[in-house]
């Protein structure tokens, strides 16, 4: 019956093309929505995921990675006092402004890290090395920031405004490191940035203390013990902090719902298009289905024809949609939008779309099941 499904489906090319266009558009929409969302979540949690720490300690009631408040850095000693802790380090996260060539100012996200240990350092370098920020007013910017900051040339001086103006020299370019908010990320030395905090009366403050455990399997237990010891801070395992950040952007801001609603609508529209097309096809070919029944086909044979046509349409439409995504992906990313298209996403979205299409085709199956083969004798 698969043979018949193929023959009849491909015989009516006009209808097939319209169906495929519908599924393809649905796939592109749904995939782009989910891929953008995942790309944004990837950026929002990138520093947490790429820092080799099992524990993250931030200010009290912190909601996401980007909204850290400063707290006294000496608390690192309490962390280091734990016998389970292999090492602990500090990371500053704050926002500042850089002066562009034309005099305008652009906001940047500053991540200040210890260049000796590399904890919190950029993990993908295009030019220069992460430790090059050591010993002076040096900084690393991401190559993707060129869109916002203009041409990034190693050795160029940049005016950074953080209460007062300070000059920093560009010594390295990272690759593909973006903040959730798309604000350019600027990496510099923790020790070099500390004096700037003093301008805000926040000397010897940090945004995060991160710790590596001797046994990462003990992360939950150590985090719990640290919560007791550091009552003015929030303590997370790495996974908890990733989850907290993702949940903040997804649920609390409502952004995730907006993305998923659009994606779900796209999938439903795709299913409706397939369902409508298959139903119209079934209605137009009702006599043929009746003939098949009269010739001895069982209902299950007819279901196979309808479901096969649905699956064939869904597979081709989905494949075209995915192909389009991969064709335009570079262009979209060059425009500053990250798309995270993983094999798991492709598989999950395919089966979701397929399920919706099959559910929509069920209306046709019901119609055929009720069809009386006696109709074949009507001229």
């Amino acid at each position: 019956m698969l043979w018949l499904a193929f023959k009849t489906l491909f015989h009516e090319k006009g209808r097939l093309i319209i169906t495929l266009i519908g599924i393809t558009i649905s796939t592109v929409l749904a995939l782009i929505e989910v891929a953008i969302y995942l790309g944004m979540m990837g950026n929002a949690t990138a520093v947490i995921r790429h820092t080799d720490a099992d524990i993250w300690i931030g200010s009290k009631n912190i909601q996401s990675f980007d909204f850290a408040l400063p707290f006294p850095e000496h608390r690192i000693n309490q962390v280091r006092a734990f016998s389970d802790v292999q090492w602990a380090d500090k990371i500053i996260l704050t926002f500042a402004f850089v002066k562009l060539a034309d005099g305008r100012r652009e906001q940047v996200q500053v991540i200040a890290y210890n260049p000796d240990t590399g904890v919190g350092a950029p993990w993908a370098m295009l030019e220069g090395r992460a430790e090059d920020v050591k010993g002076g007013h040096y900084m690393i910017l991401d190559k993707t920031s060129e869109q916002r900051l203009g041409r990034l040339e190693l050795g160029s001086q940049w005016e950074l405004t953080f209460v007062k103006e300070h000059s920093f020299k560009l010594v390295g370019l990272s690759q593909g490191i973006k903040s959730f908010t798309t604000i350019p990320v600027m990496f510099m030395s923790y020790n070099q940035f500390q004096p700037l905090l003093a301008d805000m009366a926040l000397a010897n403050h940090t945004a995060y203390i991160v710790a590596k455990l001797k046994d990462p399997a003990q992360a939950q237990a150590v985090a719990q013990a640290l919560r007791v010891a550091l009552r003015d801070n929030d303590v997370f395992t790495r996974d908890e902090f990733v989850y907290q950040t993702v949940m903040y952007w997804t649920v609390q801001t409502g952004m995730g719902m907006a993305f998923f609603l659009t994606a779900i609508l796209a999938v439903l529209i795709g299913g409706a298009i397939v369902g409508q097309a298959i139903f119209a096809f079934t209605m137009e070919h009702l006599r043929e289905y009746g003939t098949l029944k009269a010739l001895g086909a069982r209902n299950s044979d007819l279901y196979l024809v309808i479901f096969s046509q649905t699956v064939i349409s869904a597979v081709i439409g989905y494949a075209l949609g995915v192909a389009i995504i991969f064709l335009v992906r570079d262009g979209i990313e060059q425009a500053g939008v990250d798309l995270y298209v993983s094999p798991i996403l492709l598989v999950v979205l395919f089966f979701t779309l397929l399920l919706v299409c099959l559910a929509a085709a069920y209306v046709s199956v019901r119609k055929v099941r009720m069809l009386d083969p006696v109709t074949v004798f009507k001229a």
Partner: protein, 224 residues
């Protein structure tokens, strides 16, 4: 001769009470191997209903239907498709060919349905089309065939899988006089040469000349 298809005291009643319609009323007849039986009657006399019952497509309200000696009126819905598939070939007034399939593929369809060896299906379909004189048109779609060619294709399809019984509903209704005669002659030849039991429902007076036996139906009853 032994009947390969028998209907005994078969009735079909639609509705109830004042709106009750008796489409077929206590009809008994048999169809034997090598025989062409013509069922005639005015419109609304119950001919097509009777043919549907004989073809195991429609269940009678009462009476018995036997196909190859097997009582089919007591069979479940899931068993009837197999009876139709293995014992009966159908020829329809409107041909009922699949427009997306070529003439050969329309015949192949039944062979596939019957589970024939896929490697041999193509050759068998062409052989059947050859029997009805249409092998040269095998690759054409129904839209490109004349009325007579379409009906010949539907004969080839009815013969696919070698069913012992062929039921034809007004096979000449959509054909011109000359083609209609050719088609009826072909049916007679099939009955005699291939030993098929053929029942035809028709208004066509030409059919009377070619049938071995003619029965008349009026108001659902056989006229003697």
């Amino acid at each position: 001769m032994t009947a390969v298809l028998e209907v005994k005291e078969v009735s079909k009643v639609y509705g109830a009470g004042a709106g009750k319609v008796v489409a077929v009323d206590a009809v008994t007849l048999g169809l034997s191997k090598g025989e062409v039986l013509l069922i005639m009657g005015p419109s609304g006399s119950g001919k097509t209903t009777l043919l549907s019952i004989m073809g195991c497509i429609l269940r009678p309200t009462s009476g018995e239907v036997r196909v190859a000696g097997k009582m089919v009126t007591t069979l479940g819905e899931e068993e009837l498709p197999d009876i139709r598939k293995n014992h009966i070939g159908f020829v329809f007034q409107a041909f009922n060919l699949f427009p997306s399939l070529t003439a050969a593929e329309n015949v192949e369809l039944v062979l596939r349905l019957k589970g024939y060896d896929r490697k041999k299906i193509k050759a068998q379909a062409l052989e059947l089309l050859d029997k009805v004189g249409l092998v040269k048109r095998a690759g054409l779609y129904p839209a490109d065939l004349s009325g007579g060619e379409k009906q010949r294709t539907s004969f080839a399809r009815a013969l696919a899988g070698d069913p012992p019984i062929i039921l034809a509903d007004e096979p000449t209704a959509n054909l011109d006089s000359r083609t209609g005669r050719e088609v009826l002659t072909l049916l007679r030849t099939l009955a005699e040469a291939a030993g098929k039991a053929i029942a035809i429902v028709s208004h066509d007076p030409k059919a009377e000349e070619l049938a071995h036996r003619v029965v008349f139906l009026e108001d659902g009853r056989l006229k003697t």
